[in-house]
Subunit: 313 residues, 4 copies
């Protein structure tokens, strides 16, 4: 089979890319993300048509945030777009005249990493994405684990602290409240308020106030050795690693892949995660350990993964 | 294929049974569990030989507590027997001259329920066993999910309370400290001390003291409406159901099966578990719900499951 | 000594009242709460002048939310008014030509209950106020315990859940996030979303949606037996009672007084609090137990207490 | 008033000392602690008689672990000796013919530090003792705060983790399970198992196994920079400091005194406690901060404090 298109629906723009069998992106096109549910569908179609010009395309894979049903056709629920039981596959197929496969965006990204990134050579992989929130995907025996109803691998919402932080999902103590980009910024703000003398570098990068701290400031300050920033990454890593240890108890993969913007910092965050992982891994003396690897495809993982899933039909 | 033997290694006795293709047990034999590691192997062989008399047996499946490696041959670690990297498959095969498959006992029980019990008709099943501790098994797409190294589905040791109760595994806050037969007794003892006026029935069933409370007392007292006993089951169900909601986020099965001694109480414990499960299930309005079913095979699930796994080779 | 004036600064109005030696309010006057820091001071003075007409007044006591210094003169920090190290005593004295005492409002309310309400006959009392948030006051040996710097008895912000709910104070897991009117509404909303079938009465009292639930709806629904409302009060009581048990370990008073809007429901909330308190009280068999009493003065406790504290000089 | 005797009842020996008005110990005598309840009383009397020879003694103060009633006469409950509602004052007075005052041992130690140790110059002091467990005492306005029934200041048993570690008192999540000498050893053992490569110094001081780690090993290893030992102290300090921040919210003292064996390490443990305290102190920008001081009297605080309390009658 030849070329397929992967589509990544972001909060501000929709990216479509032509991808070959080796996962290489031959060409991309982006359009701004419209504000209406129907507008997004039109924009997807437009991006697909634009990027496909001059290529022979066999299928389209769309990565969408939210619950996607077991037929990979309907978005049951999307957190950011007003899609409820939206027949996304049918609507896009009508517009682009190509077979369409819909997948949860974090699943698509996990698949991309498994096929063409850090997961190559492994058959059992659990991927977590530390972005604004926390998502992930599961590969078991070389197959994407979607669950019976299509909604598996919702890592961000397992409960890690009873009666813990309120989550947008309505529950409390969800993992993504403790291990995500948003959590990182909260850690930094709290520490900058409590011990401003240890946050000088961090505060100098923004508007000088704890409220003004952004994720990129924390990363930059940590690279410069700012104690509050380093400690914030360590706190994030404590929770991320403890959660991976739980996932090892459940899935027992040969590798974990850690992606998302937070992981761009590489060993600054990966090493503490590995330490925390080993700290909490049950029975660690008596079992082989999964590796904890950094993702390799960056922000392209979802697009490439969606394209490859479409290829597999 | 015809008949196989399933072996269940318990704390006090080892049971071997001849099982047919429909999961029926044709004959059983039990021997006391020896105290030495080698003694257990001899006893397994003896039980197998005894029970196989007069039957044409094709294979033997052994369910053992602990970590079993990915080749289903070696017990990496057993909690109750001094087996460390023990080549159980080879040693038993030498003694009984039949092909042997070794499996984690909770995995075997899950498989038994999936094939011949409450899981029939489902392809994606997560089974938890509320016995003294908390174990379980995972079936995905009709296959037992063993993990890359054979040690998946160690449900009892995922962390549900940071800095929580000390566990025998060395970690703190493990699920089995909150949802298991042992937890149930602890809940009852604590409540009987704090509010003895609500524990009269419960205390009358034992030696009259909170220390003397046993699991069977709690069950019996709950059936008689004893407030402390009912409340203890409710507390157990709170934790069991919340954990199932997490497992739904991860695995998204079509059914959960709840087994183990605690589940013998049926709806007395199942109904509160279902309620708690629905309470904590993320996105419950937008996704199909897995059923929460009572196990059907009771204490025979492990033996039957091990026999069937041996049949599958 | 004769008459004094108590002033209660609320979010919408400022109330001043002439109070006699028995705690009786002879006359009151209220003015709307201005939006500026100076405006509030002028309004206090105005209310004091209005209400004092025709009475011989000896002193003024002001109850203010926030930290009040050890001289009972300066508001170090107020949460709702832009007062930072505000010399409230001096400024009001200049305007009203009477001696002024400033006190934390929850301390003033505790003093009111101690002198003229539920605390009569006790010398060691801990009072908690379950209003929108959670405040309180401490009486030891018949004296208000203000602390070395005037900021004792900030009950709402002791940590009861590590890594718990975010609090307006910047910390996480503060008691008032779990035991307060705001917490009660959160419990009700969460339960109404998860189990709408048990929230029918509750939902019928508001706009029909979980988001529209208000505190008074929960109270009314609980009185009508609505399961979600009753369970929400029980959850609040679990946390309130466990906290009282901690306070008993620290202060060992002869009585706790529970005030604030939530306590208006009387035994509906007091009884579960008492149960939870006994459940968690350490060494309960070997020590005398403090009583857990409902406050008696309602919303007047702060005004009456402030007036009485001014009388004592 | 002249000389008094202080008695400290330890697990292995009973120490009696003659103490003057400046808190100086003029002479001491020790006897082994008998195993029977009556034997302990006889031994106290014997030690008092021995040490008083040649001195004119005016009163005896006894520090005893457990609940002491509001009359400072009866031990309501002792954890280590079989005393239940034991009329200790009367029984010892009969034997020694001197006025006797009984006090909780941690209260006595707090009083000793307040009068002659780190607390001099302060009127409002909260003292915590990090020994095997966690105890403490409270001085308010220059007076020992005993509570209405004599059982105040049981710091060790306030709940800091809901559903946390089991405590000997029957509850879960008590502070002393997280901040005490016993907790320190647990932290070290857990870390030595998980990351033995970071515990080499620590393991070399005992029998080479994590199980063999004792408190003194952790202290010595920490002074030598052993990562696991240092991290164990830091973990202890996290919990100790967070608890002090809560006590500041409640009591608002001008100083905290940290005593007990753990505090012998000085700034090794005090500095991390101070950091954690500042981290969690509510409203830290808007209030004066209590100092966190190391105790000065070591193991003599209880004896000296008991003697001084007897002097005060």
């Amino acid at each position: 089979m030849g070329l397929t298109i992967g589509v990544d629906i972001g909060g501000t723009k929709i990216a479509a890319g032509v991808v070959d069998e080796e996962g290489a992106i031959l060409e991309t096109s982006t359009v701004p993300t419209p504000s209406t549910a129907d507008g997004v569908i039109d924009a997807i179609a437009e991006a697909v048509r634009t990027v496909s010009t001059g290529h022979e395309i066999e299928a389209v894979g769309i990565g969408a945030a939210g619950y996607v049903d077991d037929k990979r056709a309907t978005v049951l629920f999307a957190p950011n777009i007003d899609w409820r039981n939206e027949a996304l596959k049918d609507k896009v197929e009508q517009r682009v005249d190509l077979p369409v496969v819909v997948e949860n965006d974090a699943n698509a990204a996990a698949w991309g990493e498994y096929r063409f990134g850090a997961g190559q050579g492994h058959d059992d992989v659990v991927c977590i994405t530390l972005g604004t929130g926390l998502g992930g995907g599961i590969i078991i025996g070389g197959r994407l684990h979607r669950g019976r109803f299509g909604v598996a691998a919702e890592f961000g919402h397992i409960r890690v602290v009873p009666d813990g932080l309120l989550c947008g999902c309505g529950n409390q103590g969800c993992w993504e409240q403790y291990a995500s980009g948003r959590a990182l910024v909260r850690y930094a703000k709290q520490r900058a308020v409590a011990t401003p003398e240890n946050a000088e570098i961090l505060l100098s990068l923004g508007d000088g106030t704890p409220e003004g701290i952004e994720g990129r400031h924390v990363s930059q300050a940590a690279r410069q050795g700012c104690p509050v920033a380093v400690d914030s990454f360590r706190e994030l890593a404590r929770w991320a690693g403890a959660g991976l240890a739980d996932l090892a108890s459940l899935f027992d993969p040969s590798a974990f892949i850690v992606g998302g913007g937070v992981s761009d910092e590489g060993d600054l965050v990966l090493e503490p995660i590995r330490k925390s992982y080993r700290r909490w891994l049950v029975g660690s003396r008596w079992r082989p350990h999964a590796q904890v690897l950094a993702a390799q495809l960056g922000g392209k993982a979802g697009l490439v993964g969606a394209a490859d899933l479409a290829r597999q039909g």
